[in-house]
Symmetry: D2
Subunit: 438 residues, 4 copies
C-alpha cells in the first residue's frame, strides 16, 4: 500500500518475511509464515499481500490449503550430553542454574521445578522465565545471583544468552564447569567457552535431566543454606525505600505497593527504564509467563500493545502495567484502542517527568552542563488523558494514597491510568554507571 | 542500542544508511550522510553510531572535518532538448504543464511563474508543488486537469512521476507530444513512453525554457479561455457542501472554513485520507512550500511531526493542520512534545469516528456484512486530551461555530486541537471506487 | 580488496557472512563462522577481513581465543514422536524410506542400515545419501522408487526436501501415512502435509527408531519381494545401451565402464546434466559419502573443485570424476591447480559437443528452427589440454577402448583426462520433457 | 534455475536487479533494466525471469512494449559554476586536468582535446580515459603527473574518483583550487574537500568550458614546458628495461614490443597485476575507448570476456590482450568460446609463473619464511592449450623472438596465445610497498 519495500524493512526483525506473488498461494504462504514463527525460538513472521493479489479471484479447487504443516514435537538433547551433565550435577558442591526466556517459550516451568527439587540446585530466573517458579519456591533465589554465579562449581545456563546481563559470560566463576542449553546450536559457546553445550528444547532437556539425576546424590545443602542467607541480608538495605513515606513518592515505595496489589493471576507488564529495573528485584509474579517486559536493551513502548494482546488472548486474567512516564508517552495513546475494544487493564505511571536512565548516565559522563540535554519531561496529566479517551484515571501524589486508586481502577472495568508523581532525583545506581554498556 | 540491525531496516527508506565504524570517522561519515541527503531528489540519511564508537576518545588532530563537501550547483538540461521542447511549445495550440514535487524541492516556483507567463500555458500542480503559484495566478488551473491532459497537444510533466494519480501516464492524450522533465534519468519514460525526456533540475530547466520561448509565439489564448470555463463550471456542484449548514457538519463546510482561515503565511498540513482528499480541491495555500501532505499512498500520521518540524524551522510562520480522526490517533500524542518545546500550531480534527476511505471501499467491495470490519472509531475528545497535555482545546459540533475556536486556538500560543464532529456518512466518490488502486 | 560489498553478495549463499571490524576480534569471529557452518545442516560461512584490520597489530593478551565454542552433540527426536512412528512401522504392510543428504551429513549410514534390517523396510537414497548402503545391501532399492512411493502405506522421508525430485511431495501415495524427519523444523510439512514431523539429527533419530522397533513385528516380506521383482525388470530395458558397441559411443556404455572401474574406495563425482542423470541409475558407490554431485538444480562446474577438495581431505582415496563436456568447460582449467598441488584424480569427459539437457528441451518446446540456439559445443581435445597443463590425457572414440585409458590415468599419479567422444543424439527422455520444472 | 536468491546476490554489483513477476511484464521490465543500465554512469542490470514466467503464454495485445523509454540527452553543468571554473582557468599559471573514465563513458574525448587546446592545460588520463588523446597530442602528459598535481594552482578532476590512485585526494597540492566534475553529485567532495563541484556529463561540461574560455588568456606556457621536461627525463630510467636483451625476458621489454605492435585501430586489453601496472606507463593506445583494464582494485580475469565482447561489438578492430599468467589462469579457458564463435584476437601471456604483486608484497611484509605462501605458479604451456582448443599458439623465451609470433598470431585469424616466459624476479617497486592500500 505505501509503495515501500516492506519485506526488506521487516526481514531484519522477523523470522520470515515474504510477498505473496499469486492469490492461489495465499494459504500456502500463510502456512509457511506460521511454521517459521513457531520454528525454534518463537518470533514474528511478516507477509505482504499486494492489493492486486488480494483482490484477484481464483478457482478454490486449485488452491492448496495446508493442514498438517508443522510439527508439535520437541527436540531432545543428546543422551550422551545429558549423562555428562548429570554426572557433574551429582558431584557438584555448589551448583547453580540460570533459567532464561526459552524455559518459558518451551513451556518448561514445571520441568524446571521438578529438576530444581530433584537435583537440589538454586534457580535464578531472568527475562520471560520470571514467575517460572512461584515466589515461595524453596529453590528460587533472586538477590544472591552474583555470589552464586561467581562461586559455583557447576553452572547451567538454560535458554538465556551470554549478553550484557551476564557480563557476556565473564561474570561466571572461571573455574566452574559451565553447561549451556539452548534451542539454537549457534548460541552454544557464543561470547564464552562452555564445557558442555546441549542443543534442544529447554523443557525436554530439563525432563531428561530430572529423569537422570538420582535424588540421593546432592551435596548441595550447605550451599543452598549459604545462598539463602545472602538473599536475606541483601533484602534489608532496600527496606528504607520500600517503606518510605517521603513526598514526592519514592519509586521503591510504588514498586512495593504494586507487588502487594498483584494477585495470583495478575499478568504484570513492565515498560520503562529505571523504574522497571527497580521493580525487577521487588515484584514477584506468581505463575509462569505472567511477567512481560521489553527484554534486554529492549524497545520501550511495549506496555499498551502487550496489555492489549494479553487481555485479548487471556480475558480472564488481571493485567497490570507499570510504566515509566517516558515509556507511557510512546504508546499510551493506544489506550484509545483498548477503550474501543473493551479491554480493561490497570496502568500505573511512575511519573518523574524525566528519562532518568538516560539522564543520570549523561550527567555522570558529560557533567551538568553538557549532559542535561533532551532528558527531561513534564508531569503530564496522563490520568486526565485516559479519562478523555473513555478510560478511568486518577492522580496520586501521596504514598499512602497509592493503593486505593489501583483498586478502583481494577474494578472500573475500563482501561485505566493511575498517574503517580515520583521523586525525580532517585535513580538506580547502575543507571549512572551505565553498566549495561560495558 | 536495541541490538538490532538498524542499517538494514533503514536502507530501503533512506538515501544513505551506514554504521560509523570508528570514532575518528564520525565527521567524515556525517558529511557523506548530508551529501547524499541533498544529492538529487532530497531525502533522509541514517547513521548508526555504536555506543563504543560514541564513547571512545580520539586525537582531534587525526580527524578530518570536511568543509566543502558538497556542491550547491544545479544540473541543467541539454540545450538540444531545450530547443526541441521550445519549438513544440511555440507551435502548440493546446499546451499543458503538470508541475510536481521537484518544482518545490528544486525551488522552482518563481521559474514556473515566469515560464507560464511567457509561454502562456496552463499550469496544474500536485504534491509539494501546491502553492508554487498563488491561488489568483491567471495561469493556475485546478479543476480542469482531466480535460487539459486529455485534450492537450503538448504536455510537459515536470518533476512528477507517472504514478496512480496520472493513471500511470495513461490519462494523457495519446496523440499529445509528451515532454518529461525529471532530476532522475531513471524516471524518464517510466510507465509511459515520452516523446522527449529531459534530465535536470526543474528550476534550471524552467529557466532555460523561459529564456528560449519567444513571447509572441503562443497560440494558446482560446485554449486557456476554454479551460477557465471548465474550471468555473466544475466549481459549482460542490457549492452545496461548502455552504451546508447541516448537523453533523458536512466535511466540505469544514474545508471551506479552513480555507478562509488560512493567511498568506500559513503552512497548511493535511494528514488523513478522505478529509484530506476533499480538502485538496478547496484549500489553497498562497506561497511555495506551504502545503505539506503524506504524499501518494502515503503514511498517515505525519501531521504532528511535520508541524513540529515546520514550526522549529520557520518559527514566524502560522501552522495549521487538518487531521482525519484516524490520522490524529496515530501521532496526536506527540503534541505532548510540542507543548514541552513551546511550538504552537492549530490542529483541526475532522472527527467522523471512522476510517472512511477504508470503510466505504470495503463496503462497496465486500458488502455490509463482510465489509464493515475494523474501520469504525469513536468520537474521542481529542480536544480534552490536548488540554490535559498543556495545550488548548475546543469541541465543535455546529457549522457556524467552526471559525471562532480556530481563531482562539491560533492566539492561544499553544499547540491546540479544534475537534470538529463531522457527518460520518459523507465521503468522496473516488473512495468507494478505490480508484487509487487501479 | 575489490571494493565491493562482499558480505551482501555472499549472504544469500552462506550460513554466516560478516566483516571483521577489529583485529582483536579475528579469532572470535572466526569461531562464530565455524560454529554457524556446522550448526544444523552444514554449509559455508564467509568472512571479510579488511586490509587495515588484517595489517594492524594488537596486544595478544587482549584477544580472546575461543576454544570450546561449539557443541559436538546431536539433537534427538521427541520420544513421543518416535513411539508413534514406531507403531506405524510395526503395523505397516508396505513401508518405504527415502533417505536424503542429511543422512550423510549427520553421519547416519550405519544407523540407516541397522534400521533397514531391523524394521525390514526398503530404502531409497538420493543426493549425498547415495552409497549410504552398499550396492549389495538387501534393503537397498533403486529402480522401483516410483512404485514404492506410490503404493506404500507408511513412508518416511528422512533428511530430504519435498522438491521437484519428489514432485513437491505429490508423488507419494495420498493414502500413506507420511513421516518426515529433518534437522530443520521449517522443512517439516513444507510443500506437502505430513502425518508426523520429527525434528532432529537423522542419525540420532534412526538410532532411536531402531531401538524402538521390535524385530519380530514386520509384515513387509511380500512387499520387499515385489519391489525386488520390479527392480530386476526395470533393469533390462537399459541393457541395450549398456552393452552397445555403437560408434560414436553410447553414453550408457560409458557409464557401465565407469561403474566397473570404480573400486570400493573410489569417491565418484558427477558434474554434468544429461550424462550425470544417466549415470545416476547405473553407477553405484560402495561407501557412505563417496558420491558427490551438484545437487538439485545444481550449479555445474563442481567437478574439479570437489575433486581437489576430496583428494586434499582424503589423500588415500581414489577419485574419479565424470564430466559432461559442457560442465568440464566451466572449471576444467583448474586442473592446472591440481597439477601444481600434486592432487591426482581421473577425469572422464563424456564429450557429445553439446548441452544436451538444454538442447533437447529447447528443440521439443520451440522446434528445430527457434530451439537450436546456443546449445552446441565442439569436440574439444580436453585430453591434450590437460596434458599441456602437466596432467595425463587420452582420447577415446571406440567403446572397447574406454577402460584401458582410465586404468592408465589412475596409475599415472597425475590429474588426468580421458576424453570420450559420445553419440550427440542420445539423450534421456526426461530431458525432453523437462520434467524437473513441473 | 539454481534455486538461489539471485537478485539479492546481484544487487550489490548491478545498477538494477529484479525478478519479472508476470509474463506480460517482460518487455516493460526489460526496458527498465536498460534504462537503469544507461542512467548516469553506465553499468550492468540483472533480470531474473523464472521458468514459469518464461514458459507462460500471454495475450500480446495486453502487453506494453515500451519504445521511447529513455532519454538520449545529457545533463549540463550549472552556468554559474562554469563561469567560476572558467575564471580560475584563465587566471591559472599552473593548471592541470586529470580525466577519468567518465570522459570516455560520456564520449568526451573530442571535447577534452578541444578544451586542452583552447585552455592550454596539461591533460593526464587514467582508467578508461586512456587514449582519449592520441599519444602525440601536445597537451597529453603521462610521467609528470605527480609533479603536476603536487604543484598546480588550479586542478580539475573530471570523471575520476578520489580513490587510492590519487591518495584519496591527498596527493593534490593543498593550496590548489580544486574543481571536481562528476556525473554523480554524491562523488563531489567525497574523500576530499573541493573548491568547486560541478555535477553533469563530462563531455557536456568540457564543451561548456571550451566555449567559455577565451583563447588568449592562458598564462601556462612556461608550466607546460616545465612539465614536458619532467616527462622526458622520467622516461630515461626505464630505458634499460625496455631494451634489455636479458633471458629470461625483462617484462618491460615485452611491454615495449607490444607497444610497437599496436596499430592505430588496436583495442588493447590489460588483464593482470604487476605486468599490467608496468605496461600502463609504456603502452599507448591511439583512440578513445581503445584501452580496457580491470579498473582500480579490479577483478582479474576480464581479459578473455572483454576480448570476446570487443570483437563481437566491433568486428573490424584488432584486439590485443596482455595477460599476467595468474590472470590468464582465471578465464583463459573461455578462449574455447572465442574459437566456437570465430572471434580472433591476440593474447600475450607474460608468464613469470607467479603472482608477483601479491608475492613481493607478502615477502616484504612477512619475510621469506612466512610470506612465500600461495603465490607461485608453474610456467604452464598456455600456448599448447590454446592450440588444443583450436586456436593458435606459440612459446617465446628469447627477447628478439617476441614480435614475429605476435604477427603470426594476428594473421592466423584465430584466438591465439603467445606465451612469453618472463624473469620472475623483476617486479614494480610499488608492488613491494603495496602503496595501493595506503
Amino acid at each position: 500500500m505505501q509503495d515501500l519495500d516492506h519485506v526488506s524493512i521487516m526481514k531484519p526483525i522477523t523470522k520470515f518475511a515474504a510477498t505473496v506473488p499469486h492469490t492461489r498461494r495465499i494459504p500456502e504462504i500463510i502456512s509457511m509464515a506460521f511454521r517459521e514463527a513457531y520454528n525454534g525460538w518463537p518470533g514474528p513472521s511478516f507477509l505482504e499481500i499486494p492489493r492486486d493479489v488480494l483482490d484477484a479471484k481464483v478457482d478454490l479447487d486449485k488452491v492448496r490449503f495446508p493442514e498438517k504443516y508443522r510439527s508439535p514435537y520437541k527436540v531432545y538433547g543428546d543422551p550422551k550430553a545429558i549423562e555428562l551433565a548429570t554426572s557433574w550435577f551429582q558431584q557438584a558442591e555448589r551448583p547453580a542454574v540460570l533459567a532464561g526466556s526459552q524455559v518459558q517459550f518451551c513451556r518448561g516451568a514445571e520441568a524446571l521445578a521438578h529438576f530444581a527439587e530433584r537435583a537440589r540446585v538454586p534457580i535464578y530466573v531472568n527475562d520471560a522465565a520470571r514467575g517460572a517458579l512461584p515466589p515461595t519456591h524453596p529453590n528460587l533465589f533472586v538477590n544472591s545471583r552474583r555470589q552464586a554465579l561467581g562461586q559455583a562449581d557447576v553452572i547451567m545456563i538454560i535458554g538465556a544468552p551470554f549478553d550484557f546481563r551476564l557480563g557476556y559470560g565473564q561474570r561466571l566463576n572461571p573455574q566452574a564447569k559451565v553447561i549451556q542449553v539452548d534451542l539454537d546450536d549457534g548460541a552454544l559457546g557464543h561470547n564464552r567457552d562452555v564445557a558442555l553445550g546441549i542443543c534442544g528444547d529447554a523443557a525436554a532437556i530439563l525432563t531428561q535431566l530430572t529423569d537422570a539425576v538420582s535424588s540421593q546424590s546432592s551435596q548441595s545443602s550447605d550451599w543452598l543454606r549459604a545462598l539463602r542467607e545472602v538473599e536475606e541480608k541483601s533484602a534489608s538495605p532496600a527496606t528504607a525505600g520500600l517503606n518510605s513515606d517521603q513526598v514526592p513518592i519514592h519509586p521503591l515505595r510504588l514498586c512495593k505497593e504494586i507487588n502487594d496489589f498483584l494477585t495470583e493471576d495478575t499478568i504484570f507488564i513492565g515498560d520503562g527504564g529505571d523504574i522497571v529495573t527497580m521493580s525487577a528485584s521487588l515484584i514477584r509474579t506468581h505463575k509462569p509467563g505472567h511477567w512481560l517486559d521489553p527484554g534486554p536493551l529492549g524497545t520501550l513502548g511495549i506496555g499498551v500493545p502487550f496489555a492489549i494482546a494479553a487481555k485479548t488472548a487471556l480475558p480472564d486474567k488481571d493485567i497490570s502495567v507499570l510504566f515509566g512516564d517516558g515509556a507511557f508517552s510512546l504508546t499510551g495513546f493506544d489506550i484509545d484502542t483498548a477503550v474501543r475494544f473493551g479491554l480493561p487493564f490497570v496502568s500505573m505511571v511512575g511519573n518523574n517527568a524525566g528519562w532518568n536512565q538516560i539522564r543520570f548516565g549523561q550527567l555522570s559522563k558529560y557533567g551538568e552542563k553538557r549532559g542535561d540535554v533532551a532528558n527531561k519531561l513534564i508531569p503530564t496529566r496522563y490520568d486526565v488523558i485516559v479519562e478523555a479517551m473513555g478510560g478511568y484515571g486518577e492522580l496520586v501524589t501521596q504514598p499512602q494514597d497509592i493503593r486505593p486508586p489501583m483498586e478502583r481502577a481494577r474494578v472500573s472495568g475500563k482501561p485505566s491510568c493511575v498517574n503517580v508523581i515520583l521523586d525525580p532525583d532517585i535513580y538506580r545506581s547502575g543507571t549512572m554507571n551505565q553498566t549495561m554498556y560495558k
